[in-house]
Symmetry: C2
Subunit: 678 residues, 2 copies
């Protein structure tokens, strides 16, 4: 249809498609210019690709952006946000021009990088590179699982594609490599990765740091490789997207050779156009070069008319789907109900019956990771959409659910996932699954390796993606694996991530409640911090083995005397038993010692002042915290007059009880520390 040469001629603007493409370019340019901040280069280069995708390939309904069977687009190159906002605006999503004019301003719907939940049509929060591709793999995986679960012969109610738009930077990031390798292994044929191969990254020519053959690499992962297409060859791009669509058993890589900043006479094809406004002179020169005679934010009405047909098309598509869904519901009423419930995110009545039956059944010393495994086995029968796995540590993490099989291309009805040793990819994939909806993803590794997926935990929390993160081997108590594997900063580090609920249960009863909280928390992720080593059961505060209502409050008294407390000892997880032992020891000496179990800071901080005062009276300043991790942070509860028992060094390789004892985690040491405060 065209090439770079012809596009630079203004005559092309007589074609409404190309007028639309230029309108996308200039709306992006103008918004960046007005904000004097942003990334015009990628939208300018990718406008034809976006046009081809949204107008020719995408199954979407701008009027009902949450239609469950829509295709998903993840803009992994989140800095190109104005490309996405332009497409959403032009194709009729709820994103008026005033919001575009407010690009990157306080309280607008057009922040610097796309944010899920804030802007209709934005499927994922992106910007931190590579993760968006991982999210897209998660979307495609969720689709495949839901299709397997709900589709019936003649009733393909789940059948949509996921597109990821990726930059060179995305392709360099390890998280994307991990996710792509998994996508190839799992043969996610409805995943289509659009690679904007513009050969420019911020430091200049990609030759400086990135000479690999990306297509060959993706072929090695098991992708279908589509012949690269010129970024201004509209027909070629449409054909490439169609070819991607034609391969059901492999994800596809569509390489688009675009020119960053296309149309800018002085900056096109250079890093200079990547991340800042062009400036008035260059904007004018670009208008001249592309023959664009409209003022800033002035969009020709025929472009709107042309692009907004997406609304009608979308309504037809979505109506057609709803008709098919009605037919499905007539034939499979229970499945249809479950589909609707799963997609709505609500939990079935009595979902926790199995969990409740387990409560009180565990006496002996047991690791909280093992209790967590039992909880998973108890919950999944009533919530089959609770689906996940581990980064190759399933046995250690107790995450494999018996009888559910392993998900694979040959066994798409398996429900245990195998992420491989790819923690960061796992994190991004699970965020994508959670954002897709219809599944509740869980994912596990050792707590030390939570650092590997920390960027995904953060973006997931920012996105309100309700994943359950399971982190076992949560302290020096893991023993012989030594300091490389013993977390010090990780637990407190997770607490510092806004909108992540961190729970470190002390025994079986607390672990069951931790799972209850995790499942019921649908507005953000929950991290469960679990031991490798066996723990005794705490005295039954809420009735035998039943901590319900206590864990939910974040912290509660587990031992007290009749007198007002003179000293309070606070423990979490495996150290709670030590805090309890020390309090009991002090009590035996006639000291009014209180022991507090504090499984969750976030939950405790969400409680009323009155409740918190009842647990930790402000008049009692002799306080000791006991947690096998950094002491930084604990002064929030111990103040200047208390003491923190923790670890501000690296651990050591030796049996867990030896390391624990040698680093001060004994009843005697805690009691002595508490005594010294009185």
């Amino acid at each position: 249809m065209s090439n770079v040469q012809t596009i630079s001629e203004s005559a092309v603007n007589s074609d409404v498609a190309w007028r639309s493409i230029n309108a996308i370019r200039f709306l992006s340019i103008d918004a960046v210019e007005k904000a004097n901040s942003g990334h015009p280069g990628a939208p300018m280069g990718l406008a034809p690709t976006a046009y081809a995708l949204w107008q020719h390939a995408l199954k979407h309904a701008p009027g009902t952006p949450d239609w469950a069977d829509r295709d998903r687009v993840v803009l992994s190159a989140g800095h190109a946000s104005m490309l996405l906002y332009s497409m959403l605006h032009f194709t009729g999503y709820d994103l008026p021009l005033d919001e575009i004019k407010d690009f990157r301003q306080w309280d607008s719907k057009t922040p610097g990088h796309p944010e899920y939940g804030l802007t209709a049509g934005v499927e994922a929060t992106t910007g931190p590179l590579g993760q968006g591709l991982g999210n897209a793999v998660g979307f495609a995986l969720a689709e495949k699982i839901l299709a397997n679960t709900f589709n019936r012969p003649g009733h393909e109610i789940v059948n949509h594609r996921t597109y990821a738009i990726c930059s060179d930077g995305d392709m360099m990031e390890g998280v994307a490599s991990e996710a792509a390798s998994l996508a190839g292994t799992l043969q996610l044929g409805k995943l289509i990765v659009i690679y904007d191969d513009n050969q420019i990254s911020i430091e200049g020519d990609t030759d400086k740091a990135f000479r690999e053959d990306v297509a060959a690499r993706y072929e090695a992962y098991g992708f279908q490789i589509i012949e690269p297409v010129d970024g201004n060859d509209l027909a070629g791009i449409v054909n490439a997207l169609n070819a991607a669509d034609d391969e059901p058993d492999k994800p596809s890589l569509v390489t688009v050779r675009s020119v960053i900043g296309f149309g800018s006479p002085n900056f096109a094809g250079t890093g200079a156009v990547h991340g800042k406004a062009l400036g008035g002179d260059e904007v004018a020169a670009t208008r001249a070069q592309l023959g664009w005679e409209y003022d800033p934010f002035d969009v020709p009405s025929d472009v709107y008319q042309h692009m907004r047909k997406a609304v009608e098309r979308g309504e037809a598509l979505s109506n057609e789907w709803h008709a098919r869904f009605d037919a499905y519901k007539a034939e499979y009423p229970e499945l249809a109900d479950r589909y609707l419930q799963d997609l709505s995110g609500s939990l079935p009545d009595g979902w926790d019956d199995g969990l409740n039956r387990l409560i009180g059944s565990i006496d002996g010393p047991i690791a909280t990771r093992a209790v967590s495994g039992a909880a998973l086995h108890a919950i999944t029968p009533s919530i089959p959409r609770l689906i996940g796995g581990s980064a190759d540590l399933a046995e250690s993490n107790n995450t494999e659910v018996d009888g559910r099989g392993s998900f694979s291309p040959e066994m798409p009805d398996g429900r245990n996932l195998h992420f491989g040793v790819r923690e960061h990819g796992m994190g991004a994939v699970c965020n994508g699954m959670a954002l897709h909806g219809g599944v509740i993803p869980y994912a596990a590794t050792f707590l030390i390796f939570s650092d590997y997926l920390r960027p995904a935990i953060r973006v997931g929390a920012l996105s309100h993606a309700p994943c359950v993160w399971i982190f076992t081997h949560d302290s020096i108590g893991l023993g012989e694996d030594g300091p490389t594997h013993q977390p010090i900063s990780q637990l407190m580090g997770l607490r510092m991530i806004p909108n992540l609920t961190v729970i470190r249960p002390a025994d079986a009863a607390e672990t069951f409640e931790a799972w209850r909280i995790a499942i019921e928390n649908r507005s953000g992720p929950t991290a469960l911090i679990l031991t490798r080593q066996n723990l005794p059961q705490l005295p039954a505060i809420g009735g035998q083995g039943f901590a319900r209502g206590y864990v939910q409050r974040g912290a509660y008294v587990i031992a007290d005397t009749e007198k007002d407390p003179e000293v309070i000892i606070i423990g979490t997880g495996s150290e709670t038993q030590i805090a309890l032992g020390a309090a009991l020891k002090l009590q035996s000496e006639g000291i009014a010692a209180r022991a507090v179990s504090m499984p969750s800071w976030e939950l405790f901080q969400a409680e009323s002042d009155e409740y918190r005062e009842s647990v930790l009276p402000s008049s009692v300043r002799a306080r000791v915290s006991v947690e096998a991790g950094t002491t930084i942070g604990w002064e929030r509860y111990t103040g200047f007059d208390g003491a923190t028992i923790g670890i501000d060094r690296y651990g050591a390789s030796a049996p867990g009880d030896v390391v624990m004892a040698n680093l001060g985690f004994t009843v005697d040491n805690v009691a002595e520390t508490a005594r010294s405060l009185l």
Copy 2:
């Protein structure tokens, strides 16, 4: 020479090479058995490979393990530590049998995973998968840079190879992908990656999660691919290592098809043998299968004799090198002296003259990232071994040094590195460079993306690897890029990593001192936390623009009254000016307010009680902290009676000053908060 079939016949034990190989297997088995903890499978499968490497390929000198031109081996699969300890023990390193018997016990030299600095011959701390391969890329990169710097025609004083031993898990990790792509781009021909392709990971057959064509992927990166070789084909392995050696311009991938747990009749080839002791019965059965008639820890003397010839060979190799070095020194005395100094890690006299000349030269408002760039320009002329770059954000991080060129295969004398958008790989590579020695690596990205390399920062700190991490765009002050890019937990999170020194300077003078501290800190990494936005200069405490001796103490008084302070306001980085402004405002109201600048927690905590008391008198409990990050942790300095001004939510996309003001970072708000405490 052999295949799996013949090896299982005991007759093979008549050959001292195969007796040595079985001795490696059984020393590993026995140590794991005694500890009842560890990973026997990989050592059993890889023993022939290790034998071939250490006895036939490696240029090493067990008697002088720090000989600078030795080949390096990084056991990226650190869980196979007993393989490495066995090789070090047998080939005559300082690792007696008693240490092997103490495997994974308190205070031994044989921790669960190899630790650099603890055990002679261990080149890198490994275990967290993937990073070891990244370290190896760093070793090879350092070698290439040093060879370019010091070698002269006829004088190849720097000429050694780096071997990485990698498991399936290593190959799955994104950090390894990133590092391998960089190694291919930079054509690090002396890097040899040995891939233990045993097709088993912990969850079972790698088919579950890892179906990609690893060799094709590495070929796409630019590696030479060596035909896979059977793990028991000793001659084949030697040939493969030789073939790897013959390619000077590409890194090589040597794939060894080993059988995990080889020799174990019941567990060989299964995940069961990966991570726990075989148990007495299976050990006996394995002894029978391999015809090994020796008791646990009983090593035939001819095996010692055979293997310990490595000591002699090593002495000859190292003597030969020293003779060549003498000849080099005779011809190039200055270069030779610089080589010795650079390798010793000591700094040249007057290294900071350039830095000192800069001090006081900056008046106007300026971003600390820009000051950091100026510092780099001032230091590199006197310390040319200060070498680094950015993960594709050089211009934003101010890390590119003018006139030093870009390191590339075509320009090996360039000294600006381009890591690409590969933060985690960058971290692991820099750790490898630092452990290699002869270079001081620095590496940069935005503070938010410190999370991407956090696992490498931690392992580097554990390893005492003295990298300089440069993290710019350090708060919501970065503005429009929004919450995806605005750090909340990252700054405090870095402070929680033991042996990492974190410095967040408040102005130019503090930034210069931060660089001085970073360069002088040779026992661990230093993280510099720098602003995107311009900052005013603080009043000159140590003479005009000269903060020397103040930053070094971590915190110091920047404004006071003659009276004892009633209230103390503590700031860091860009918020120090706000703390100062608030204190001055309160002073104008007659309140005795003190302002404290606290650029480094670690340095302040290393000070004497007296000094800390002089800055923060314990009698003054009305204290306010001001830092644009999580408030968790600040109660260490503000206690129950103070207040913390920080951010416990996500940021927002808007101009930086708007976000700052809207989230409470104003002089008025800080002053009001302080007033409310009185």
